[in-house]
Symmetry: C2
Subunit: 339 residues, 2 copies
């Protein structure tokens, strides 16, 4: 009992039997006599023996562990995803090593290294905003470790993916605004180096086209935070380009816009309708409540983990990679009602 943990050897010594006997008794091996089994199990109980799963892992070359790399856990969406991941992993007897990249490339690369060193059996990752070199992720694959991307994928890396139908959902949201009779629909977009930013913008443009509305460059701007959205609203007002609807690339952006409008005395949705993306819990709480797109984070997490475990347990690792789309839903609330 040197390190505080009881080992099989400890128990073997006490009982005057071989370690292998104890091991077998514990696993209910048929060769072991009922009596021995009873004695061993009683002692294990009494000494609070906990099998060392790490040592087992070394033996079987398995760690019963998967790794997750998330940009920032404090976003509701990501916290939902990891909740789904943990849930599936727990029920499958897997343990989750949690890493945060903080949207930094260096940190992400460090996380990958740490996970590999710990011999995780697979990795779930949503790539950081800063990452443009993907060698560290390619290394994972070259080591034969299964990789699953969720939400933010790295281009050109062979791996399963779980994503949202961003383009379609953005299109849906914009069409909804158009359907409420809005003609001058603005888009507050995410940076265009992010796939997600491009996709949502595309959806917006597609919706304009489908609704027969012209694209007005003065109503398109990159602004993807609460503060930036407020600034942009003030600018639009000052320049006399007030739209009659705003589609924000995420909820905080939409809410920032909404608040700026309201505090400028512009009614929402009366004068300007607003819709967001990535249904956060915020949406139910604002005044008016915010129309937004629900990405189903929890389900993305569970699905991604199922794909990962499936690949981990597959005999033949090389079956084709899957891209699964978790369809987002438009949740219509008060901020986008007809005027």
């Amino acid at each position: 009992m040197h390190s505080g943990h009881v080992t099989i050897k400890d128990m073997a010594r006490i009982l005057g039997v071989a370690p292998s006997t104890v091991s077998r008794a514990l696993q209910g091996h048929p060769d072991i006599s009922a009596e021995t089994r009873r004695v061993v199990r009683e002692l294990a109980e009494k000494m609070k023996y906990q099998p060392n799963i790490v040592a087992q892992g070394l033996k079987f070359r398995r760690s019963n562990t998967i790794g997750v790399i998330i940009p920032e856990i404090v976003h509701y969406f990501f916290s939902q995803v990891i909740s789904g991941i943990e849930d599936v992993a727990y029920n499958a007897g897997y343990t989750v090593i949690f890493c945060q990249s903080n949207e930094k490339y260096d940190r992400e690369a460090g996380n990958v290294k740490a996970l590999m060193a710990h011999r995780v059996e697979g990795i779930l990752v949503s790539v950081s905003k800063e990452t443009s070199d993907f060698q560290h992720l390619r290394d994972v694959r070259e080591n034969g470790i299964p990789l699953v991307f969720f939400d933010r994928v790295a281009p050109g890396i062979p791996a399963d993916q779980v994503v949202t139908n961003d383009r379609e959902a953005a299109c849906m949201a914009t069409l909804h605004l158009a359907g409420q009779g809005r003609k001058k629909i603005a888009h507050f977009a995410a940076p265009q180096n992010l796939l997600i930013g491009r996709e949502r913008r595309q959806g917006y443009l597609e919706a304009l086209a489908r609704a027969g509305l012209p694209f007005d460059p003065t109503l398109y701007t990159e602004a993807d935070s609460f503060e930036k959205a407020q600034r942009e609203v003030h600018r639009l007002i000052a320049e006399g380009h007030l739209p009659d609807a705003i589609f924000g690339t995420n909820d905080l952006t939409a809410i920032g816009a909404m608040k700026a409008l309201i505090s400028a005395g512009i009614s929402v949705p009366g004068r300007v309708a607003v819709a967001g993306f990535s249904d956060s819990r915020f949406a139910e709480v604002t005044e008016p409540t915010l129309t937004s797109v629900d990405q189903h984070g929890f389900e993305m997490g569970t699905l991604a983990t199922q794909l990962l475990l499936k690949r981990i347990h597959a005999e033949e690792k090389e079956y084709p990679f899957e891209t699964r789309i978790v369809k987002a839903d438009l949740v219509i609330r008060n901020s986008s009602m007809a005027p």
Copy 2:
């Protein structure tokens, strides 16, 4: 290269040297010749050798891993805490195993077992609402594994703790409402089997006493969710017991109350002032913005992890346990302005 991972043995065989030589070369042991070191390192580089930290751990009886058990990650507060935990752990070269109890006792006990089996060097835990038997946590201590509680502690277990000054902060919030001229201050409380629920209630009562206000049982009720708060507001209105202020035991409760009031045509803060607890990102986003108590989740996470690592690395494990209080701040916003 059996399992996809390069081992020291693999490299030794290729170079025709002993495994120990490779091991030493890799660690920069002074005995090894510059030439050998170079050759070994080059090969390691080329083969993308990743040290198996698990095997190292077996050798040294260390896992470089700590475990975290959190009730539900989707709460902003808890996501902040775990962000702080991950940050400190990462910088200390530790890996974090993440578990969620989902507020269930069984799950929490299962989490503890899994963490012990993985030989984590220490555990950070915030106990689930359902937990009233603490034997699983006592087992952790009896195995000599350091334990640190954050936010929600288990009574009578020897461990370091990081908590909020709930009572004081609740008192502060209530006094603030009184200071705005409110006389009939209601409290929507958490279940009283939770220490936090009791503490916040105590703070509320203390503030009433200090402000010379009587305690009115009709203005006290257990309601700790968005929906319950809305129901309670409707009940208070129906029964003609409308308070002129409400202190909610958490932000969602406060916001639920606020929304119910507003939709009943009762102005906030004009007619009823509202304050919450555990400053979530919600608070900045509601209309009016919500006065609330900021619990500094990130700092609680970093501090708890520092305490844990300190104990893990201590020669003498038995120094006195610390209880550290991370002082909460009252953040005054619009929902509690004077009428």
